[in-house]
Amino acid sequence: MTPVLRLENLHKSYGALRVTDGVSLAVYPGECHALIGPNGAGKTTLIHQISGSLKSDSGQLLFDGRDITKLSLPQRSAAGLGRTFQITTLIPQFSVLENVALSAQAKSGSSFRFLKPAARESDLNAQAMSALEQFDLAGCAARTAGELSHGEQRQLELAMATVAAPKVLLLDEPMAGIGKGESVALTKTLSRLKTTTPMLLVEHDMEAVFKLADRVSVLVYGKIIATGTPQEVRANAEARAAYLGQETL
């Protein structure tokens, strides 16, 4: 099987600091590939490099059978690379519905339309509503996005990412800052989502990682030191020493 997303020897340095030091990994169709590692390992930097909000120094990115290394952030998104952020990133003054409808708008025809009211495009609104239902936000559709609780905002981000039907989802700590109960619910939602959308998941919540991930890579100081099934990684001495040892598994 060919991977839907492949990183080949990616590098990124800030001066002498090698934040990403020759990272190669692949995400296969139907798979949740988790990326774990201690704070400062360079996980978020790597997500930025893949999504295109940060330029890589060298290396290659293959996505959906094409080389996307030279594409810009919006071009990569338009090609089907979806993403959520570690720090919640929304259109705060738009309604919840409009946040998702705008994301749907990006995938449905040209947005260089100047006269017809976008808020009354029933097709966009219907797509947005069904994404909101999927993430239990249908009741909040008319509220202002900036006024939602933190947990609801995390859900909204996922709704915005999935309504665009991405070919791969990059999830940067979707569980960050949400309660225990919510994270259990979110894990369920993500495991449903996994069947349709392969994902690269950065997460500190080990319980969620080992429930969701088909494969796990351990990133330490910008280098991947182990990749394998959750069981293999759990058994890997180097990975344990670097990271997993801190937690009871």
């Binding site: 990133t89 990006a106 006269l115 808020a119």
Partner: protein, 324 residues
């Protein structure tokens, strides 16, 4: 809940459309009510305010909906009026030729300066647009062949299919009013359409909008070009009204006035630019008639409105119940 939400929104929308149409109607009747206040002098003042309203509507597209604080918007007033002035001086008087030329030149200037300015943001964007505005001001001042510093008197008036519709003692008042109404309607629709939605979203969170797959630069640049073209038309109307063009129309103070009109009226609102421009021009004039030191009052008045009327005059009206 969704139904109620959109109901409230559309109700508010209806009221603001009604307010805008109401203002335009009062303006349309100016020649009738002006008699009570000083006749043709008031008509000419209202005409000036309406032309400023056209320019403010276009600037609201940038500042209000796009979050792009341009401090060089008067450059387009200068371009519009000089293209008009030069065309008439060279014997090309029909609006049918002048207006497309005005829009083409303003649009081109906006395309080039916008493409450069939009590489920056925040204070740098303000400074670079100011620099382009000043550049144009000095260029116009040095057009020795067309009057230089002193400006250029137009010995012929603009014709419209051979009629005097765009002449001061012809139908210019209604020409301005029609263009104002068209611009008001166009900017209202634009802000709610797909294009405007991307623009408004990019103002709040550019990274998010780019992550959705929109190249915000393209949308902002097009908004800059559209705004430049509309302001160019306002410049054209100033030339028609005064039958005289001068570099003074494109000074940075004028760009500042336009920003004040937009902020005063209420940014990112449908009627804010209308209210702001009318208030600015009319109150300035009224104060200067009553008081020699009118600036002592006008300045603090603007500051107070901006400070205490959240959302400018449009916001004030909304809270007073006119719009909601």
């Amino acid at each position: 809940m969704l139904a109620t939400g959109s109901h409230v929104i559309s109700n508010r929308q209806n009221r603001s459309i009604a307010l805008g149409v109401g203002i335009l109607l009062v303006l349309a009747l100016t020649p009738y009510w002006a008699g009570a206040f000083g006749g043709s002098y008031v008509v000419s003042l209202v005409m000036k305010a309406m032309i400023f309203a056209i320019a403010s509507l276009s600037l609201n597209l940038l500042i209000g909906y796009g979050g792009l604080v341009s401090f060089g918007h008067a450059a387009f007033l200068g371009l519009g009026s000089y293209v008009t002035g030069i065309a008439i001086t060279e014997g090309m008087t029909d609006v049918i030729f002048i207006l497309p030329m005005v829009m083409a030149v303003s649009g081109l200037f906006a395309l080039v300066t916008g493409a450069i300015s939009l590489r920056t943001s925040g204070v740098y964007f303000i400074m670079i647009t100011l620099a382009f505005g000043q550049m144009l001001f000095f260029t116009l001042s040095s057009l020795a062949h067309y009057g230089g510093d002193d400006g250029l008197t137009l010995w012929d008036a603009a014709t419209f299919f051979g009629t005097a519709f765009f002449q001061y003692d012809g139908g210019l008042f209604y020409a301005v009013l029609i263009i104002l109404a068209l611009c008001w309607g166009f900017v209202s629709l634009l802000s709610g359409a797909r294009f405007g939605r991307v623009l408004r979203a990019a103002k709040q969170n550019k990274l998010r909008v780019e992550t959705m797959g929109f190249n915000t630069f393209h949308y902002q640049l097009l908004a800059y070009v559209i705004a430049g073209m509309i302001a160019g038309v306002a410049g054209f109307l100033f030339a028609c009204q005064a039958e005289f063009v001068s570099p003074a129309i494109s000074t940075w103070q004028r760009s500042g006035d336009l920003i004040i009109m937009v902020v005063l009226g209420g940014m990112a609102t449908r009627n804010g630019p209308l209210l702001g421009a009318l208030f600015f021009v009319l109150v300035e004039e009224a104060l200067s008639l009553v008081l020699h030191e009118w600036r002592l009052i006008f300045g603090p008045l603007l500051v107070l409105i901006v400070l205490f009327a959240n959302g400018g005059l449009a916001g004030l009206l909304r809270r007073l119940g006119v719009e909601e």
